[in-house]
C-alpha cells in the first residue's frame, strides 16, 4: 500500500510493530497457556501463583485422555461423522452444482436461490424440529442422526462453492467431448471433475472441519459416548462442576489439531470459500 504523506507514513510504521506484537500475544497466548496447562502436574496448576513457564513436565494428562477416558470413542465418532458428511455432501453437491451450472431445466433458479438462503439459515432455527424428526425416526444417539443433521449446512455450502468453480471451466472443452460422443455424465467425470480437483479438495476440507467443529446439533442429538463427538465430549469431562483442567486442556489440544492443520493447508482458499465468491480478491 502506498501511504502518501511522509510523517503520517512513518508514524504508521512506528505503530506497526507494537500493535502486531500485542496482537500476536493476544492471539497466541491462550494456546500457549492451553499447552503448558496440559503439561503441568496438578500440584503446579492450582498454586496461588500460577507458573507462566512450567517447571515440571508431565504427560499424565495426555495419558489419561488416551487410556482412561471416553476420548478415543469421541475421536472415532467425530472422524466417522465428519468423513461421512464430507463424502455425502460432495456427492450431492457435485451433481447438483453441475446440473445448475450446465444443464437446462425448469426450476433451476429456484433451487439455486434455495441453496443460498438455506446456507444462511442458522442451526439455532433448525435444532428443535430436527431433534423432533431425529427422535421420531429413532436416530437419537446415533452417528447417522448427526450425519443427517450436518448435511443441512454442508450441502448448501458445498454446492454453492462448486457452482462457482464449475462456471470457470470453459464450456468449449465439454462441448468438444459431447461432439465426440461423450454423454453428459462422462463429460462431468472426465472433464469437469479433474479440472476442478483443487476446488473439490478445498470443499472437502471445509465440510470436514465444519462437521468436526460442530457443537449445537451434537449437544442436542447425542447423550452418550457411543455417538458423542469430540466437541460435546469435551463438555462432558466436566463432572459436577469440577473441571479437570489438565485433562481438558490436553484433550482440547488434541481436538484442535485436525482443523488447524487443515486450515493452514487451505488457508488461501478459506476466505474466498466462506463468503462464497461474493468478495473478489
Amino acid at each position: 500500500m502506498r501511504n502518501p504523506g511522509g510523517i503520517w507514513r512513518s508514524g504508521w510504521r512506528l505503530f506497526t510493530w507494537p500493535v502486531l506484537g500485542v496482537g500476536l500475544l493476544w492471539t497466541l497466548f491462550p494456546f500457549y497457556w492451553m499447552l503448558t496447562t496440559a503439561l503441568k502436574p496438578n500440584d503446579d496448576m492450582y498454586r496461588p501463583e500460577p507458573l507462566l513457564v512450567p517447571v515440571r513436565i508431565t504427560l499424565s494428562h495426555f495419558h489419561k485422555v488416551f487410556f482412561d477416558s471416553h476420548f478415543p470413542e469421541y475421536f472415532r465418532n467425530s472422524t466417522i461423522v465428519a468423513l461421512a458428511t464430507t463424502v455425502l455432501s460432495l456427492l450431492v453437491g457435485i451433481f447438483a452444482a453441475y446440473a445448475i451450472v450446465r444443464l437446462d431445466f425448469r426450476g433451476k433458479n429456484l433451487i439455486a436461490r434455495g441453496l443460498i438462503f438455506s446456507y444462511l439459515v442458522p442451526p439455532v432455527l433448525l435444532f428443535i424440529p430436527l431433534f423432533e424428526l431425529i427422535f421420531k425416526v429413532g436416530l437419537l444417539n446415533t452417528r447417522e442422526g448427526l450425519i443427517l443433521a450436518y448435511l443441512t449446512f454442508t450441502v448448501p455450502f458445498t454446492t454453492w462453492l462448486l457452482m462457482g468453480y464449475f462456471r470457470t471451466v470453459p464450456v468449449a472443452l465439454e462441448e468438444a467431448a459431447l461432439v465426440d460422443g461423450c454423454t453428459r455424465l462422462m463429460a462431468l467425470f472426465r472433464i469437469i471433475l479433474p479440472l476442478s480437483m483443487p476446488a473439490i479438495v478445498v470443499t472437502a476440507l471445509f465440510s470436514f472441519t465444519l462437521s468436526w467443529n460442530e457443537f449445537l446439533f451434537a449437544l442436542t442429538f447425542t447423550s452418550n459416548p457411543v455417538s458423542q463427538t469430540v466437541t460435546v465430549g469435551l463438555t462432558s469431562t466436566v463432572a459436577e462442576d469440577v473441571f479437570f483442567w489438565g485433562v481438558m486442556m490436553a484433550a482440547s489440544f488434541l481436538i484442535a489439531i485436525p482443523p488447524v492443520v487443515l486450515y493452514l493447508l487451505g488457508q488461501r482458499w478459506v476466505v474466498r470459500g466462506l463468503t462464497a465468491g461474493a468478495v473478489k480478491g
Partner: protein
C-alpha cells in the same frame, strides 16, 4: 441466480427454459422422427427445459436435503411455536400463548437486551480490530505469510476449545488473567470474570472478538489487495494526504467486502451459542443469557419444544431481513 447469464450465448448449455427457439430443435428432429414416443419427450423438453431428464436425477438428492432437512423442519419450527409440545408428549395447539408467555417473561427481555449488546459490540469490535490488522498486514513486512497464518489460528480451532481455554484463563482463583493483572497493579482484587453480573457479558464478548477477528482480517486483507495501486498513485499526484487517500480510496474500495462480512457475521454471531453456553451457561441469574442459549435450555433440558421454538424465532423478523439481504448480496456477487 441467472446461472446461464455468464456463459457465451452460443453454447449448447444456454438454451432458455422454454426451449422455444433453439437450433437444437433441428438436431433433435432426427431423433424425434425415429422415435414416435419422442413427441412426448419433445413436449416435456419444451415444458421443463432441454436437459430435464438428466437434470432432475442429478438435482434430486439436494432437493431432498433442502426440502426434507431444511425447509420442512423450518416450517415445523414456525408451527411448533403455536403448540405446547413437551418432548415425547402430546402436542396441544395454544395459539399465540407461547409468545404471550415470553413477552411477560423478564428473562426473555433480558435475553433480548443481551443478544443485541452481544451482537452489536461483537460485530463492531471485530470489524474495527479486523480492519486495523488488515491495514497493518497490507504492508511489506518480514514474515508476513507466517504472521497471517499465526493470526488466523483462533478462528480455525473449534469454538468449544476456544471457549474452554478462555474459561480457564478467566478462572477466578487459579486463572492467569487475574494473576497477571494483579501483579501489574491493573486490579486491586481478583475479578470474577464469568460470574460478576456486570462483567460477564463483556468478558464473553472479548472472547467472541478474539475468535472472530481473524475472519474479518482475512477478508479485509483480500479486499485491500484488490484495490489497484494506480488509485493510490493518482491520489498522491492530486496531493491527497494519507488520511484523505484512506477516506477516498481505501474505504470505498472496501465497501462491498465490509457489507458482505458484517452482514454474514451478524447472522452467525447472533446465533452462536457456544461462547455463552461454555463460559457462563447464561448466568449469573441470566445476565449473559442470549436467545440461542435460552432456546436450547428451554427446549432440550427444559423439554418444552414449543416454547423453545418460540424463543428461537424471537429474533426471526430481524434475522429474516438479514438473510434476505445477505442472500441478495451473495447472489449479486456470483453474477458479477
Amino acid at each position: 441466480m441467472r446461472a446461464g447469464d455468464r456463459l457465451p450465448p452460443n453454447t449448447a448449455a444456454v438454451t432458455d427454459a422454454q426451449g422455444a427457439n433453439g437450433d437444437w430443435q433441428e438436431t433433435m428432429a432426427e431423433t424425434v422422427m425415429a422415435n414416435p414416443s419422442g413427441t412426448w419427450d419433445r413436449q416435456l423438453r419444451r415444458l421443463l427445459g432441454r436437459d430435464y431428464a438428466l437434470a432432475y436425477w442429478l438435482i434430486a438428492p439436494s432437493v431432498v436435503v433442502l426440502l426434507g432437512l431444511i425447509a420442512f423442519p423450518f416450517i415445523r419450527a414456525i408451527m411448533l411455536a403455536f403448540y405446547s409440545q413437551p418432548i415425547g408428549g402430546e402436542g396441544r395447539f395454544i395459539g399465540l400463548e407461547n409468545y404471550h408467555t415470553l413477552l411477560q417473561d423478564r428473562i426473555w427481555w433480558l435475553s433480548l437486551r443481551n443478544t443485541l449488546v452481544y451482537t452489536i459490540f461483537g460485530v463492531g469490535f471485530k470489524t474495527a480490530v479486523g480492519l486495523v490488522f488488515a491495514l497493518i498486514l497490507h504492508q511489506e513486512l518480514k514474515g508476513r505469510t507466517i504472521l497471517r497464518a499465526l493470526l488466523f489460528v483462533p478462528w480455525s480451532v473449534p469454538i468449544v476449545v476456544d471457549a474452554f481455554v478462555w474459561r480457564w484463563i478467566y478462572n477466578d482463583l487459579n486463572g492467569i488473567l487475574n494473576y497477571v493483572l494483579y501483579k501489574l497493579h491493573f486490579i486491586n482484587e481478583y475479578v470474577l470474570w464469568t460470574s460478576d453480573p456486570k462483567i460477564v457479558l463483556w468478558a464473553i464478548i472479548a472472547v467472541v472478538v478474539w475468535q472472530g477477528t481473524p475472519f474479518y482480517m482475512m477478508n479485509f486483507l483480500a479486499g485491500l489487495q484488490s484495490i489497484p495501486d494506480e488509485l493510490y498513485e493518482a491520489a498522491e499526484i492530486d496531493g491527497a494526504s494519507a488520511f484523505q487517500s484512506f477516506r477516498h480510496v481505501t474505504l470505498p474500495g472496501l465497501k462491498s467486502v465490509l457489507i458482505v462480512v458484517t452482514l454474514l457475521s451478524t447472522i452467525w454471531t447472533s446465533n452462536e451459542l457456544q461462547f455463552v453456553y461454555i463460559l457462563s451457561s447464561g448466568g449469573p441469574a441470566h445476565m449473559s443469557e442470549i436467545f440461542p442459549t435460552l432456546a436450547f435450555f428451554t427446549s432440550i433440558p427444559g423439554r418444552e419444544l414449543g416454547l423453545g421454538a418460540a424463543v428461537a424465532l424471537s429474533f426471526f423478523p430481524l434475522l429474516a431481513s438479514l438473510i434476505v439481504l445477505g442472500g441478495r448480496v451473495l447472489l449479486r456477487g456470483a453474477e458479477e
